[in-house]
């Protein structure tokens, strides 16, 4: 049992604090919760992408056996909409549905089966309306409007130097697409709402940010925030899909109405409809360079499909736009980036948050440019890479470490696995795996590289501070540190890292955690690779204050300190897209080695090597685990993962047809860390959870191009593309730049700001 007591300080591979209950099955996720006399809730959803609701008849459902309550928009007591940025998303569709899967009603019954039967009895009469299901169609003047304020949700314009007008000697001009990816966290949406006699509610839920949930839910319940207590239930992964509200408001409404606890859990099919997805993208990118390899112009038109409601599309677009020219010093940059509303399923936060889409485009374009210039692809990157002191297209100066050269060199130095013999392998060691499709025919190896970057923490002027309370308590066995934080650990190992920080700062071994709830102040979201920095900083600050209070003295009684950590301030973008929008940056280089069966177009990824700029690694084993998981997600977008839509309806809402990588699809992953400390960050850390997702997709596709010679301008790459059945995507040209009042999301100009914005701005 010795390994399980590896408590670990900063820099050591400490044992996960919640590992034991997870391996025994005792750890309780939102979908495992139980209460006496609970009711099960089931949601009724629209099959149509765009329709008027003519009539909803709940009488049949209300009469059904075991049904306790049926709610629709007609029953809403207070705010009728919610949203992370703008409250544009109805609790229940109100007169009109805007996407296939939109909630229309919810039914509570004694058993899950009775609730499902009751839901089937809710009778809704729809009048289908014209739907806009293509992001370029959405920009056309004759397109149906998803919302009255128009289909443009946000447009960002960035102009640096002479924009697109400068001269260059060599040009490449490419068009690239990425599909709608799903977070596909294994743990489905789930939670339990328990009403109290005084009209308050206790909500136990799997989520990413308790406080922004509470803000939205309370408004829709018509309750002051103090009467809604949210306690974190175990979260079975999230990757962005738990940032938005899912079952919370529905469950609380039912609980308040029936006076009984209500549990809602989504099945896998419903889960696809119940959370946001990654924005599909279309990129038109031109690089202009001099013959000596210096890139002098980057000209990007980017389009993202935001789906029916705003979610976090505004910040996703802002992020994507600021990274669209790549981690390269380019003196003249023009970026015109738009996210539109459509009647497709809403898109929002997913690991990478806009960075993966643009990385695929700029790294693909960089390889084209290298080929045209006759440069080695890595040498072209190194020739143009940003470094500390570089000026980014937004005018922001890269103040922290930017070890692009180092991550490239470390990645390149990882030994490439030797080529295996073609014949005589076990069947599963060929592309196609368990399908027995080959004995070594038509195998071709390819190697590809990509460099990516992204920000850490929130951007564009938001103050996403994090609070933590640390208590140092004497005990017979020695002092114990107690950490209270509302931060969510949905698997990345945040709590373990916080424990390591407390052990290091307070020189203790025992660290325990109080339950995460809204009893504490906000720790911000577990997203944006921010929590090690933000909650780590809060715990660090609290520990230091405890040490100061103890100086020279003994620990006689418990001493407690609460610390709120703020990152350095950022600004929004001015009318030319200039400002200091990001807190800090981190960089990664990835190499993919693939083997392709050229006749069947099937792929076996042989190795992924990822070198990442981590600032400081707190827990090496945990950091590797994060890179490995992020890499697998990037691999999924490269090869197999795509939400397929037909007229706005999801065709593959199951794990049979939405294919996440299995253990036979993900190769061994080698991770390397470059540690150049970030100034002003606790221990010099940067975030690590997202970068490999950003850079793996283009690396894999580059390797596939090397193996097959195909142009491949779309992710995921399908067998059709690899065997040449499917020609490269064509475009009819860049869509027009919309006329907008400014850089902010359009709803803001209509006075609709809410959600995260208000929460974070109010703290000033």
């Amino acid at each position: 049992m010795t390994v399980l007591t590896r408590r670990g300080r900063v820099g050591e591979s400490a044992t996960r604090v919640d590992g034991v209950p997870k391996v025994t099955g005792e750890y309780m996720y939102g979908s495992d919760l139980h209460a006496e006399h609970l009711l099960w809730g089931v949601t009724v959803r629209s099959p149509h992408a765009s329709a008027r609701i003519c009539r909803i008849d709940v009488a049949g459902a209300a009469r059904a056996a075991g049904v306790a309550c049926v709610l629709t928009a007609a029953d809403l007591p207070a705010a009728r909409t919610f949203g992370l940025e703008f409250a544009d998303q109805p609790v229940f569709a109100d007169g009109v549905v805007r996407y296939s899967g939109e909630p229309v009603a919810v039914v509570a019954a004694e058993t899950l089966e009775q609730a499902q039967l009751g839901a089937d009895l809710v009778s809704v009469e729809y009048e289908p309306l014209p739907a806009v299901t293509d992001m370029e169609q959405a920009l056309r003047p004759d397109a149906p409007l998803v919302h009255e304020l128009g289909n443009v949700l946000r447009h960002v314009h960035i102009r640096h130097g002479d924009g697109a007008d400068a001269d260059a000697e060599v040009w490449v001009d490419g068009y690239y697409e990425t599909a709608m990816q799903d977070q596909a966290a294994l743990g489905p949406e789930g939670g339990l709402a328990v009403p109290a006699a005084d009209g308050s509610v206790d909500l136990y839920v799997a989520t990413q940010w308790l406080h922004v949930d509470r803000q939205q839910i309370a408004l829709c319940l018509g309750l002051p925030e103090e009467l809604l207590r949210i306690t974190l239930a175990g979260v079975g992964g999230a990757f962005g899909s738990r940032e938005d509200i899912h079952m919370q408001i529905h469950a609380c409404l039912l609980a308040l109405r029936t006076g009984r606890p209500v549990k809602i859990v989504y099945g896998r099919e419903e889960s696809f409809h119940g959370h946001v997805h990654r924005h599909p993208s279309r990129s038109w990118i031109r690089y202009g360079a001099m013959r000596d390899g210096r890139i002098v112009v980057a000209d990007v038109r980017l389009l993202l499909d935001g789906g029916a409601y705003a979610s976090s599309s505004g910040p996703v677009l802002g992020n994507a736009a600021t990274f669209a020219a790549g981690p390269y010093e380019v003196p003249n940059v023009l970026v015109e980036a738009t996210v539109v509303y459509t009647n497709n399923p809403p898109c929002g936060a997913m690991r990478g948050f806009g960075a993966p889409q643009v990385c695929f485009a700029y790294e693909s374009a960089m390889d084209e440019l290298a080929a045209k210039l006759g440069f080695d692809p890595l040498e072209l990157r190194l020739r143009n890479a940003v470094r500390t002191g570089s000026v980014l297209p937004t005018g922001q100066v890269l103040e922290g470490p930017a070890p692009v050269r180092e991550v490239v060199e470390r990645c390149r130095a990882v030994p490439v696995p030797p080529e295996e013999p073609r014949e005589g392998r076990d069947a599963i060691a060929y592309p196609g795996g368990a399908g027995n499709v080959g004995r070594g025919e038509a195998l071709k190896r390819g190697v590809g590289y990509a460099v990516g970057f992204k920000n850490v923490a929130y951007s564009e002027g938001f103050d996403d501070a994090a609070e933590a309370t640390v208590t140092l308590r004497p005990s017979a066995e020695g002092p114990v540190a107690v950490i209270r934080t509302a931060a969510v650990d949905y698997g990345q190992g945040l709590y373990t890292v916080l424990a390591q920080i407390a052990r290091t700062e307070l020189d203790v071994d025992e660290v325990v955690f109080e339950p995460s709830s809204t009893d504490s102040g906000s720790a911000g979201s577990t997203s944006a690779s921010r929590q090690t920095t933000m909650s780590g900083g809060a715990v660090l600050g609290a520990c230091r204050e405890i040490r100061e209070a103890l100086v020279g003295g003994q620990l006689e009684e418990a001493i407690s300190r609460t610390f709120t950590y703020h990152h350095r301030p950022t600004t929004g973008l001015d009318e030319e897209g200039q400002g200091r929008p990001h807190v800090s940056f981190s960089f990664a280089a990835v190499r993919a080695v693939v083997e392709v069966d050229e006749e069947l177009g099937l792929v076996r990824v042989v190795q992924l090597a990822a070198a990442q700029d981590a600032g400081r690694v707190i827990n090496p084993q945990g950091a590797e685990g994060q890179v490995e998981g992020a890499a697998a997600m990037g691999l999924g977008l490269a090869l197999t993962e795509e939400i397929q839509l037909a007229d706005g309806a999801i065709r593959n809402a199951s794990f049979t047809d939405y294919l996440i990588p299995t253990i036979l699809d993900v190769p061994p992953i080698v991770s390397e860390f470059v540690e150049e400390p970030e100034p002003d960050a606790p221990y010099g850390v940067k975030g690590i959870g997202e970068l490999a997702t950003v850079a793996v997709t283009p690396a894999v596709v580059a390797a596939l191009r090397a193996a097959t010679g195909r142009a491949l301008n779309r992710a995921p790459v399908r067998p059709d593309d690899l065997v040449g059945i499917e020609p490269s995507l064509r475009t009819s040209g860049r869509p027009p730049v919309p006329d907008v009042p400014g850089q902010r999301p359009i709803p803001e100009y209509h006075g609709l700001g809410l959600g995260q914005q208000q929460l974070m701005k109010a703290r000033e």
Binding site: A434, N436, T662, P719, D720, I725
Partner: protein
Amino acid sequence: MSGPSPGTLAEALEARAAHPEAVPIAGGTDLMVAVNFGRLRPEALLDLSGIAELAAWQRRDGAVRIGAGATFAQIASDLGEFPPLVQAARAVGSPQIRHRATIGGNLATASPAGDALPVLATYGGDVLLASVRGERRLRWDEFLVAPKRTALAEDELIVGVEWPVVDGPGSFAKVGTRNAMVIAIASVSLQLDTQARRVCIALGSVAPTVVRAPEAEAFASDALDWDDPQRPLPETVAREFGALAAAAAHPIDDVRGSAAYRRRAVEVLARRALAWAVDDRRAAA
């Protein structure tokens, strides 16, 4: 429906006749998916998984008979003399699925993507059916009528499959977009019958049901050198065979793959399967 599940085939047939509303279930790997997704809400189930005689297999009079209840795990471990069948079994899902999924289930579900079905078709096998009224057998293509539709009567159960044992190498291969846990986009089963000097090939997932490719078979049966196992397979023969096999496919575009890719996959798999069979025959000689 109450009481213990049937322990013998006779009990099961009685129950089937007496309670036609009880949905038969063996491995449950197709049926329970429909139930879990709310697409099927049976009032009762007729559990066949406890009937030992349904899982048995035997060789007799130059034929092999495999009980409908034989799981793919059992097939993979016990039926090594039929490589195409074992390869199909190994290509099915995961160990968890293979421990439950049965060959009878593949037949009852009658999806053109069912992994054992092209193998059965290659062997020209029969499907054995029984009811309280007696037994009958249908040729595989008489049983598999249309996608997800069979000729099973309301009171019948599938009891097994039977096919004549042939001498010669063969294989099964299936294409999917990822390396495991896929429903076939296209599959091919091939068998050489060295006595009858015939090549048999069946295609899965590329037509409403599993189909044979008679023109391809006739061509290859004629073109192979049956007298000299050491003779390599000419490239032109392999290519023509592949092209003829692909021509026998009538695939559609669906969420899993395109028709064009399916045709290409069949052409490649058929060509490879024939080459492997010739190689295996040479190695055995």
